[in-house]
């Protein structure tokens, strides 16, 4: 039984004169607790799919259901982490995380302090509680945004290239951190990226998208290839991981060649 269900969803945006199709009818069923990564070339429409799940875009056709209920508009059930650092500069680290707790009817206010402390610990920002977010690094700011999203306790976690703007070292550190967090929180997650390694490393399941308009190219059960929960830094050098990476890179390369031959999309 699918927990999060995307049924025949497509999206067209009004362009100048003619409509631009961004997502061709897509059907995807995601199980509860599954971490799914969306991989595809920049501007292919994978982010649009995620934004539709988040209720930030309305599907042109089709429907999205969560636990059997039709989704319409954004709410607390689907938390989102953006590529740009959306930590609020007028709030401290603790203040940002506290805002994530503010709209939860299920958590009494007297429990907020403890929850904030726990989340700060989870993302490893101990000692930075009272720092304003423009005095900390980009990687730390993104951890604040992740902690704030987790504070709202969403059913589904949506992450839009959250590490895209970070340097390689910080990025690897945060990827490992996210694996820890995912192990602790076991949230259904959609993670959008254009980085092949990241897409495999973080995923239970990897969806490869075509160039625009987004079409499902391949649906890979990463867990079946790599086993469950054996995800440490060493995994990056494991033969199974390297094989899978080569395979995915092959798909992407073939897709690039096809898109270039079509030429129509100007990639």
């Amino acid at each position: 039984m699918a927990y999060l269900s995307i049924e025949n969803v497509s999206k067209t945006f009004p362009g100048d004169g003619q409509e631009v199709q961004v997502v061709t009818p897509l059907t995807l069923n995601i199980a509860q607790g599954q971490i799914v990564t969306f991989l595809g070339p920049s501007g292919c429409g994978k982010t649009t799919v995620m934004r539709m799940v988040g209720g930030l875009e309305t599907p042109t056709a089709g429907q999205i259901t969560l636990d059997g209920a039709l989704l319409r508009g954004p709410d607390r059930r689907r938390g989102m982490v953006f590529q740009s650092y959306a930590a609020f500069p007028w709030l401290t680290v603790a203040g940002n995380i506290r805002l994530g707790l503010k709209y939860r009817p299920d958590l009494p206010p007297q429990d907020h302090d403890a929850a904030v402390a726990q989340l700060i610990d989870l993302v490893g920002l101990n000692g930075f509680d009272d720092s304003y977010t423009n005095r900390i690094s980009g990687g730390m700011r993104q951890r604040v945004a992740i902690a704030r999203t987790l504070a709202a306790d969403p059913d589904v976690l949506l992450m839009d290239e959250p590490f895209g703007a970070l340097d390689a070292l910080t990025r690897e550190h945060l990827q490992n951190k996210l694996l820890d967090i995912n192990r602790a929180a076991a949230k259904t997650t959609i993670f959008v990226t254009h980085d092949v390694e990241e897409a495999i490393l973080l995923a239970h399941r990897l969806i490869v998208f075509s160039a625009r308009p987004a079409r499902l190219l391949e649906d890979i059960d990463v867990t079946a290839h790599l086993g469950t929960d054996q995800r440490e830094q060493t995994l990056r050098d494991a033969p199974a991981f390297l094989d899978l990476r080569r395979h995915v890179q092959g798909i992407i390369r073939a897709e690039h060649a096809r898109a270039e031959q079509d030429g129509a999309h100007g990639i």
């Binding site: 988040g54 977010t133 999203t149």
Partner: protein
């Protein structure tokens, strides 16, 4: 000291600022005492300072200043309490923006001095017409500035709010307003400065009190030093208010410093 785009030590900055001021005063004094310009038209800086003192001792200038400051702040307050919420809502709800923006753009281009006769017909020559002139001069500018400040709040901030479970009112209160606040306060500071321009116009046309009235009535007796002292007083009040605003801005929005 003459490095390209370098910063200077604080003391050097102050010394240079003071030197510039002294140079200006020196030129002015020379022009006056040398007979280059008749003293009747350009009294020396010292004469202006003396006149400044006389304004306070011989006339109740402090009272006039208080009246003028009171008018400015009352009108400014009336502008702000309407323009801030309305400007905020205008940018959050496009329908409201589309409804009132064309009208505001039209009124914004009407020269306020041209409105003075009409406002006097409507409100008489009492306080109400002066407040109305100041309000006309600031409200329609301020509302668009506030609306622009709000529009510049990043979409990610607002979308974050909704996905955290906030409703529209909570997003406005907890995210849009605090995100736009530093720029809003800057625009309030600039708009308050304009109030003084319109105040003098209002007080010259129809008033029996206030800084503008004092300057205008002394003109009739060609008391040039007093007239200049009155103008200087407005400059000093403006400078102090501006600095107070900047100081409060720095204190309240410490997080903007890197």
């Amino acid at each position: 000291m003459f490095g390209f785009r370098t910063s200077l030590p604080r003391r050097t900055e102050l010394a240079l600022g003071l030197a510039g001021l002294l140079l200006f005063l020196g030129l002015w004094h020379t022009a006056s005492v040398s007979g280059w310009v008749k003293q009747q038209f350009l009294p020396t800086p010292f004469a202006v300072v003396e006149a400044f003192g006389r304004l306070f001792t011989e006339r109740n200038f402090a009272g006039d200043i208080l009246i003028s400051v009171g008018r400015v702040w009352l009108a400014f307050f009336l502008s702000v309490i309407i323009a801030v919420p309305l400007g905020l809502l205008m940018s959050c709800y496009r329908a409201l923006g589309a409804l009132i923006e064309p009208f505001i753009d039209f009124v914004r281009y009407l020269p306020v001095p041209a409105m003075v006769p009409l406002l006097i017909i409507w409100f008489g020559v009492g306080e109400a017409s002066k407040i109305a002139v100041l309000w006309m001069g600031t409200f329609f500018q301020l509302i668009l500035l506030i609306s622009d400040d709000t529009k510049r709040v990043p979409a990610e901030y607002i979308e974050s709010g909704f996905t955290l479970g906030a409703n529209q009112w909570q997003v406005i209160r907890d995210i849009v307003f605090p995100a736009a606040l530093p720029n809003m306060v800057d625009n309030l500071r600039i708009t308050l400065g304009w109030c003084w321009t319109y105040l003098i116009i209002a007080e010259i046309v129809a008033a029996s009190s206030g800084v503008g009235h004092v300057i205008w009535s002394l003109r009739r007796f060609v008391k040039t030093p007093e007239v200049m002292a009155g103008i200087v007083a407005i400059g000093i009040i403006g400078l102090l208010t501006d600095q107070a605003f900047r100081w409060a801005h720095r204190r309240r929005f410490r997080y903007l410093e890197r």
